[in-house]
Every structure is written in C-alpha cells, then in structure tokens.
Amino acid sequence: MTFGVRGVTVRFGDHVALDDVTLEAPPGRVTGVVGGDGSGKTTLLRVLAGALSPDAGEVRRPDPGRIGYLASGSGTYPDLTVDENLVFVATAYGVHASEVARRSGGYLERIGLAGARDRLAGHLSGGMRQRLGVICAMVHRPELLVLDEPTTGIDPVSRADLWWLIARAAAGGAAVVLSTSYLDEAERAASLLVLDRGGSLAAGTPEEIAAAVPGTVRRLRERPGGGLAGRAWRRGARWFAWEPPGSPPGEGEVVRPTLHEAVTVAALARELEAVGGGAP
C-alpha cells in the first residue's frame, strides 16, 4: 500500500506551515523531501508520522506500531548505552530482546558501531548517534520509515553508512521518507517533493523535475546587468540566468537544466511572483 498525504494544510496561529501539500510514499522506495530552513519539511514529516494532526487534508499511514520515526536532531537516549537504546526502543514496539540482538548485530557491525555497544549514546560522535538513531527507528521493521534530516551535520563517511541502512530498509519493503536540504543527496531518492515556505515547488523523479522547467536556462560568461540580474545566479565559476516562457531570447548558451537549476528556477519564479505580481 502506498502511504502519504493529500492536500495537507497545517497552521500555527496565523502562520501557514504547510499549504495544500501532497506526497506519495510507495513501499520499497526512498522518497525525498527537500527544502531549506523554514520550508515545512519537519512539519510534513511529523504529519506523516502521526506526531501532528493537520488542519486539513488526508493522511494515509500504517498503524502507529508499524511506523519508524527519527525526529531531527537524533532520537536516541543519551543516558542509555547503544545496546540499551536498541532494546528499549524495540521492546516498546513489542520486539523481544533476543530478536533485537539478532536483527541489529549485522547492522552495528557494518556501520562501525559494534565496538561501541556499551558506550553511552550521549558520549558518541554526532555521526555515530545519528546512525544509532536510524537503526532504532527501523529495528521493529516498520512499513513506513520517516527520517527527518538524518544526514545533517554529519560527515560523508557516516552519510554513506546511513544510506546503506536506508537502502536496507527499502530493500526490506519499507516506504522510506527522508528530508534533506541538499540536492545532491536528494537526487538519490526515487522521487522527490521540493518544498519552499510551506508550499510544494516541484514533485516527481529528479529527471522529471529537471525536465519540467518553464522557459529557458542559459549559461553566461559573467554576471549579467540590468533586468536579468534578478533572474541570474552563480554556481561555482559559472553564471546562469532564467528566461520565463515568452520572454525575448537573451545571450548565452542554452543549457539543459539539472535538478539544481530546476529547483533554483522554481524558487526564483516564486520570489519574482511575490515581489512583481507575476510579470518578469
């Protein structure tokens, strides 16, 4: 069964944290939610995991006992050891302690935590704690695994280990939903939802999102002046500019947008709409 949310809106007082957002999370696949600070990623994941009720919209999720959820900033208990964390969480989901050891042993071995089983979680490095958090969230073999920014602030080696665990969960049939603020990481997901200030900016596979850019993206030699400056951005040594559909063609070579350009254009279009009432 495909889990997800449809047309979900969440308000905190006057602030609309999520505005009519839809997300599909099929089993056996990794679905990415990407956006910056304040985009609504955490709110969406909390709604999906059942930690927050939306003001409007529909949520499809399994029974609470079949959900694994890692809140942002690691859901481990600092005063418990690695083993105690695992047993505590798994027991809460009705998994027997002997079964926990059987299931987690291989994982701990593979991701370099086997030697740390008796250490307090509070004494682990950020990357180790985060890896432990993900194992805790998946040790009861949930049908829906929700991970809020599991890789933020950790180094690339820890990140590779986390993705190994994520692949394991998906291979076992779980619908995995994870959030990130980095597009190169988001590109690893089978499908993506791009959020910006509570609204959906784009959705689909990374290829679909890149192909759906309206208008034209051009590569420029240098920073453009005049009216184009507001629609230009820089990446490394390269400059890009976006021409909305129907605008007169400018200079520079037309490039096929990558996911990175597509998301930048979507954010630009939204920003220009907010200031200029739509006209480029």
């Binding site: 190994w164 998906a170 990374p206 990446r235």
Partner: protein
C-alpha cells in the same frame, strides 16, 4: 605571490596520535579553497594551526608570509558553523557589538537583509542569519576568510546568494578557505584539498579529483536481490533511485557477483562524493 595562508610539511601530534601528518596547503589571494575530510581526518586541527590557535609539532605555518600572531589574526575573518551571533540581539546590534569588541568598521548588511535589521537574530530565517554572520566577518575587510560549512541548511537559491557574497570577497582579492561535508558546497570552490588520516589524499579541481574514476551502474527489476548478491560478494553498492552504483570495480566482476540476478550493467563517471569516499577508504586502509 605570497600565499595568504600556507602550511609546509606541518604535523601535529597529540601524545601517540598523529592528527595532521606532513600537510602542505596554500591559499592564494582571490581563490576559494575547499577542505574536505571525514571526521577525524585532521581538518579542524589543521585549521586551528593555520589560525595560530594551536602550535605545530613539526613543519611550518605562515600567515601572510609570517608566523601566526595577534597581528595576523586581525587580517582573518572567521564564520564558525554555529555562526557566532547573539540570538537575542538584532543584526544591527550584533554588528555594533562586533565593532565595539574587535574594532574596525561597522559591518554592512546586504540590501535584502536591511528591512530585517531590527528583528532579533534568533527569529530570522537561517539564510538571513548566515548573511548577517558574513557581514560581521567581512566588516574589517579581512584578507583571509575561513568558513565552516557556510551554507549548511539553506535552500539552493539562498545558497547561490550566499556564494555570491563569498565570491565577491574573493574577487576583491581575499583568499577563502571553506570546510564542508557537502559536495554541493565543495563544487562551488576553485580548488579542493581532500584529507584522510591526517594526510592530503587528493587535490585539485572537481574534475581533477574525480579524474577517470568510474562506477558500475546496475539496473535491475529486482534491485533488492542485486544488492544482496553484491554485498554477499564483498562489493559495496549505493542505492540511487532504483539503480545501484558500485565503486572501485569493473563490469565483469559485478556480473559475476550478481550470480544470475537479472540486471543491465553499464558504467558511469563517479560523482565527487563517490570519489571522495574511495579516496577516504584508501587513505584509511593505508
């Protein structure tokens, strides 16, 4: 040209641990150098030596052609990962405080941030907070900027805008040293230095570091079984969408490892992240 910052065969030992082992690094005016490495690779120790906060056990560190001192410290702008701003003060108050404490000019806020100049920093979006931190670090016109994950946590457009500020400083002649764990950010740099186990294991542009490194791409309707088979054969495979990417191997070896699991095999150029992991694992095994 005198490098802004330079380490020559620099080593740092903590008792029996060699945290930095004979590292040569230089940052020239106008260039953005990215320093990459897993935790424990020695990046922080190297930077602390470059900033003059920690003496080297061996080798030499030069800032602006001289040993680090209070004088050289004044010519550096530093933005830590935690940004170093006071949450309860507004952007303007933060800048005024920095001037009162460290001297120099009052930092100038970018035009888009000015309307928010009287709101406490803790209530501003992260992208805006980062721009305030940049303004603070740039206030005294530093010759060398040291930035720790400068655009972590923000969306791509906000990241592009922050990088315009960083690029602007480099074009005005400053040297920039960036440490990061994220390849999106690393790809913004002119030159990268990759560290593992205290040593430099790779150096150059993104293209030079990736070089000819390839991965085998496995497309299988049963990727779960393919993953199982590859790992059973001791190969590490990364899941991307519904394909598997296997580094440091060849099509033939992967074909054997799959042992009859239906799959289409191809090859592709490695990403910077894949190459980084390869270099790091090789550096750790050595």
């Amino acid at each position: 040209m005198t490098p802004l910052a330079q380490s020559i065969g620099v080593t740092r030992r903590f008792r029996h641990l060699v945290a930095v082992d004979g590292v040569d690094l230089r940052v020239d005016p106008g260039e953005v150098v990215g320093l990459l490495g897993a935790n424990g690779a020695g990046k922080t120790t190297l930077i602390r030596m470059l900033l003059g906060l920690l003496p080297a056990s061996d080798g030499r560190v030069l800032l602006f052609g001289r040993p680090p001192s209070r004088e050289t410290r004044r010519r550096i702008g530093y933005v830590p990962q935690g940004l170093g701003l006071y949450d309860d003060l507004t952007p303007l108050e933060n800048l005024a405080f920095a001037r009162a404490a460290f001297g120099g000019a009052l930092g100038e806020l970018p035009a888009q941030v000015r309307p928010l100049a009287r709101i406490p920093v803790g209530r501003l979006p992260l992208g805006v907070q980062r721009r305030v931190a940049f303004a603070q670090a740039l206030a005294h016109g530093p010759d060398l900027l040291v930035l720790d994950e400068p655009t972590s946590g923000v969306d791509p457009l906000a990241r592009a805008r922050l990088w315009e500020t960083i690029r602007g400083a480099a074009e005005a002649g400053a040297g920039v040293l960036v440490t990061t764990h994220h390849m999106d950010e690393a790809e913004e740099c002119d030159r990268l230095v990759v560290m593992a186990q205290g040593r430099v294991v790779g150096e150059g542009s993104v293209e030079e570091i990736v070089g000819g490194a390839r991965v085998v791409v496995v497309e299988s309707p049963e990727w779960e079984r393919a993953l199982e088979a590859l790992e059973g054969a001791g190969l590490s495979a990364a899941l991307v969408g519904r394909t598997l990417r296997v580094p440091s191997t060849g099509v033939e070896e992967v074909g054997h490892a799959l042992d009859g699991v239906p799959a289409i095999l191809g090859e592709a150029g490695a990403t910077l992240e894949e190459r980084f992991l390869e270099l790091t694992l090789a550096g750790t095994a050595a």
